[in-house]
């Protein structure tokens, strides 16, 4: 039987004109959009690999060679990998930038890339957008390091990694159940309209992420 190369699709399609695209592990990826503007912007990261990690002894684990932050809500950013501590026995790994890593074989890790929508939102007026979608205090002062919240965003349970900045502009990367993708995007775009929210590509996102690494 001749093998066909099957296409993968993201749960959503951003309403923009892609300028640069590439295919990555079967996913069509938009690297940048025409007229991205200076933010706020929204980028679709649903294609980036994500894992759920559970086990009784997370402190001793080194998934993909990195240690796991100790307290729930803490976030480690190592290269393109974001490790979010969820609770005593669980962490979320989001590989947000760079080449896809080799899929780990550790049974404690479950690939959940397909389980969620993953969006990044960034811009100086980010929190003006997010406060229209959640009562969680994403802009709480006193946080400089990125942190993770688990709670409702757009009325849907989400995992929310907040990068308050500086050095980068305020940024939010979040996931929700894939099935909510269509309506979530709709809610985000509606909330962002007054702020001029526009779609951005993976390259723009990576630039912002890099800014936050320093």
């Amino acid at each position: 039987m001749p093998s066909v190369s099957l296409k993968r699709v993201s749960p959503i399609a951003l309403p923009g004109r892609p300028a640069r695209t590439e295919e990555c592990h079967g996913w069509p990826v938009v690297l940048s959009y025409a007229e991205e503007g200076g933010g706020p912007w929204v980028a679709d990261l649903s294609h980036r690999p994500r894992w759920d990690l559970q086990g009784p002894d997370l402190d001793r684990q080194q998934p993909l060679g990195h240690t796991i932050p100790v307290r729930p809500g803490e976030v480690h950013l190592a290269g393109g990998l974001l490790i979010n501590r969820l609770n005593a026995s669980q962490a979320a790994l989001w590989h947000l930038a760079g080449d896809f890593p080799e899929p780990p074989t550790d049974p404690a890790l479950t690939e959940v890339t397909e389980a969620t929508l993953c969006l990044a939102l960034a811009g100086s007026r980010l929190f003006g957008i997010t406060e229209k979608l959640t009562s969680l205090d994403l802009a709480a002062p006193g946080h400089t390091a990125p942190r993770l919240l688990q709670g409702p965003f757009g009325h849907v349970p989400c995992q929310l990694a907040v990068f308050p900045g500086p050095p980068g502009p305020p940024m939010l990367v979040f996931t929700c159940s894939r099935g909510y993708g269509h309506d979530m995007l709709h809610a985000v775009l509606a909330a962002g309209e007054e702020f001029g929210l526009r779609p951005a590509g993976q390259a723009t996102f990576e630039k912002a992420l890099t800014a936050h690494i320093h």
Binding site: Q54, T110, T116, E131, L133, A139, H155, G179
Partner: protein, 972 residues
Amino acid sequence: MNRLKHLPTLRITPGAARSFTYGKHTFEGLQGDTVATALFANGVRVFGRSLKYHRPRGLYSLDGECSNTLMEVDGVPNVRTETTPLTAGIRVAAQNVMGRPELDLLGVLDAFSWAMPAGFYYRMFHRPARVWPLAIQQIRKAAGLGRLSPDFRMPGRFDEIYPAADVCVLGGGPAGLSAALAAAERGLRVILLEARPWLGGAFEYRAADDGDGVALHRKARDLAAAVAARPEIRVFTQAPAIGVYSDGQVTAFQRGGPDQSFDERYIEIRAAAVVVATGCGERPLLFEHNERPGVMQPACAQRLARTWGLLAGTEAVFSVGHDLGLEAAVDLFDLGLKVAAVADIREDGQDPTLVKALAQRNIPLLKGWVARKAHGGNRVTGATLTSVNGRFHRRLTCDLLAAAAGLTPATGPLTLAQSQLAFDPHTGYFLPRTLPKGLQAAGRLLGLESWAAVTASGRRAGLQAAADAGADCQAAIRESEAALRDLPGAVRGSKFVIAPGCGRKAFICFDEDTTVKNVDQAMAMGFDVPELIKRFTSAGTGPGQGGIPGHNLPLYVAQTGLSPDAHPRPTTARPPLVPTLLATYAGAQHDMSKRTPLHDLQVACGGRMERVGVWTRARRFTDDPRCRTEILNVRTNVGLLDASTLGKFLIFGPDALKALQRVYVSDMARMTPGRAKYSAMCNDDGCITDDGVVVQTAENDYYFTTSTARAGVTVEWFRYHTRYDGWCYHLVNLTDAYGVLNLAGPKAREVLSRVTTADVSNAAFPYMGYREMAIHGVPVRALRLGFVGELSYELHVPSSYMPALWDLLMEAGRLEGIRPFGLEAQNALRMEKGHLIIGSESEQRTTLHDVGLGFLWQREKADQRLVGAAALMQTERQPGRLKLVGFKMADPSGPPPRDGSPIVDARIRGYVCTARYSFTLKEPVGLALVEDGLAQEGARLAIYEDGCQGQLTHAVVTPYPFYDPEGRRLRQ
């Protein structure tokens, strides 16, 4: 009407005309006007008619405390024109008027008020009984204020925000501004809510000074500018607080406009601390005809002039009980109003400067006097004043009667926040006796009046709120308290309520036309506390809620000496403090539902989508509600169903098996690799809540499915029922990670074999088998199940590949006649096969035994403390339960009974769960829950369908599955 010009306090823009229509007239107002001030400027004095007696009503408070100026604006009823900014082109109309406001044909009702005493509804219209239904229609027509068309659609943009803050300040007067500044100086995030379009509160229009020569309006503006300069303070104007809840939650709405992204939006704030600095209003004075157009509160008259440049009359009489009332008289005189006299309830204690100012202007000040009656019809033509002992009277001519008994604090937010208020005899106010944690009060609300005291109290409250929010500022608080102590404290206030000798038409509640006499009547009937009087007389239940009556009712009731409440007790305030549009509350109204990866493809195939729980799914793909072609195609060829909504989970870890044993009724220790095990979950009542299959994929490693409805609670359910055990197991919800394609029908294998190199022969992949296979490189979990009763494969496909897989299979199956099928076809197919859907063939009280699945229960695993085990034991042989049976119709040529139809003899003995004409079997078949006495094969069921007029149809209990009872087709 000519406006006053060049006042530094004006908020209108001269020359910026805004034209609008009122009834048949076209009027012009100015930018900065409210709808009400623009109408007033055009000579409108009667704004509407009262609810019950159709009395003319005019401008009274400007703060929307009563229904007097509710009008219809652009089709929206009950718009508070006093607080609604004028925009060009709007259409304004009066409400509750037959004719026009000035000449309302129903105004005649006022003469019959004697026939409508308190609670008259309860004592009338029911004798004889046939009168009542007719009376209702008349009562309904008479009741209500505005009109709304059933086809009305609210125009405008509505939105919502959920900002967080450390300190939330309610009220943008000097107290609130000072509080905000004090907290901001401590580095805290502050939100300040102000109902009016500008800051400054009751000071921003006052020309008086504190003796230092700087006008108060100037000071107020300077303070507002200082607040605007602080980035920590977020100011919302035109944003009245509507709810104050515990834990620092405050709700408000904000009016927007063409310059904003919204017309109105809902604001829900979470703060660590809340400062209430909502100030005071003027307490209404009770006297005969105290709501005639032309009677208004002194501050109303003063603000009309100062803010909008409108003199409320030519000649005025003032009846006041507070210095601000005197100040208003002086100020308005200086602006050109003739003042015939000022009556002051107080015998003494007036601010000597104000007394002197009145004297300098030759305005007679009558100490110990009060208005007793307003004369005139559509507008005031005179006033009778009386000495407060009632002995002397004097009648004066005037077209404006500015009347208030004194001041009254705006305590609504305090009450909502559950603070205890107590009557304070010095101020005559309800003052907070205790404040809940995180709540502070400041300013005029506490009886303070001077600029210095009000701002100092604001500062103190702001610092205390900062401390509540975690800032370290005890020293500053002590300092602020000391400063406050050196300033004038709460001023003595008037407790005077009702003028002596006033007649039957002294209104305590404008909205409901409740008079003082009605209150007396209610009290005579035993309704002796304010809450009951409110219920019996409706006082305070109208559009303005407690606004007008809330202040005087408790004082009046206490004064009668007839109430067990010897001390006034405040009436209850409830959210919303300001009536709020449903459109605003609804806000952005995002609709969040789930779509499967195949949503768009199914729509493109003609799928009729429906909401099923949290998901949107395809019910069918043709116009035929019975789905004949979809069904027969599955039976004869092959169909493709999107079953992505099935719950899908991983469970692993050393105690995974124990957890499965706890919640699944079967013995999950006995699993065969490569085989799926069908089982069910019960609740502690032994009632079936879920079913699905479980697969062991490795040691301590399982993959299982749940029904769509239970997917969302499955993890919660496992954890709940093992919460005391401390077991180590891990659950991953993969429901959205995999889409599910159910490829079903006798030709399913041929289709599948065209897309995979995996061996899918019956021997290699038998019924109930589980395989992990690749389809063109895509890893797929495949289960060979048979829910619809045919050879079928349930393919669990990574969601991103689902559209590609769907296309692939549709293409691969073209020769076999593959076509999609939906939920309705599936429902009929599985019913023919006797497979049940939980919630359809079961209800809350249906046990595993009742649906015939008792065999799944492994009773030997008692040590696992299986959820539901005790109830399963106790109900196993219990008689008198509803049991699931199959049935066929006694007359197979008739139609199937409709789902839900009861099964009866002398009483109801069960009901039809699902029944369909079976295109496969060519006769109707169905499943029903019936009492066990009817559950034997051959029992005759009498079915009572709705609308049958007693014409029962009959069915006979038949063994099921109806279709392929031996299950050969599943195994072929």
